[in-house]
């Protein structure tokens, strides 16, 4: 799966879960960039991402992410 395809899907998930009209995630995006991305919505995002990509993360894995780029790296690794 191409990185750009993942971002396309992630943008849709973020819009849906966070109730945003549009979002343009990048490797450098972090929760502080999006007002609606709080701790509770983070849980909803992870669940939605796991469902959409048919993958499972571990708690250790998600704690290590510093930005969206690192999350995308995890998704790519699991989809290979």
């Amino acid at each position: 799966m191409e990185r750009s395809e993942i971002y396309e899907k992630l943008n849709e998930i973020f819009c849906d879960v966070l109730d945003l009209d549009e979002v343009h995630l990048t490797d450098a995006s972090v929760a502080d960039d999006i007002e609606e991305w709080d701790s509770l919505s983070h849980i909803q995002l992870i669940v939605a991402i796991e469902k959409a990509f048919g993958i499972k993360f571990t708690s250790l894995e998600i704690m290590k992410w510093n930005n969206v780029g690192e999350m995308v790296n995890s998704i790519i690794a699991k989809k290979q």
């Binding site: 509770l40 983070h42 849980i43 909803q44 992870i46 669940v47 796991e50 469902k51 499972k56 993360f57 571990t58 708690s59 894995e61 998600i62």
Partner: protein, 140 residues
Amino acid sequence: MTIAELAEQTGKIEHTYQVSPEVYHAFQSCSGDFNPLHTDVAFAQSKGFNDCVMYGNILNAFISHFVGMLLPTKEVMIQSQDISFHKPVFLNDQIALEATVDTVSEAVGIIEFKLKFRRISEGVKPELVAKGHVQIGLLK
């Protein structure tokens, strides 16, 4: 208890509730909602219902009971829930809740249950009145 253990022990839970006068009045008092659909039989009948329609959110209170009292651990908290109402519920209806584990995420420590509410009465096929989901997290 871990989220995986909770999911394994829970599987499917069924419980029957009654929309008794006590439940109706308690919810009315709590919500302050005296809309005539819920309080005036003539109004409800003029809108095509046989009787006053019960508050749909009484079913949300039943979800609260399910999460707080029926799960095998008390260390839980509701993160989100949604419900859609398909048929009206009336006073003294018996409502059977069926809750099945739908999604488990160990990464964020949540379980999502799929919920179905059916009206049950003797000699009649159970009727789906509402359905939804509740997502719970384990308290740390």
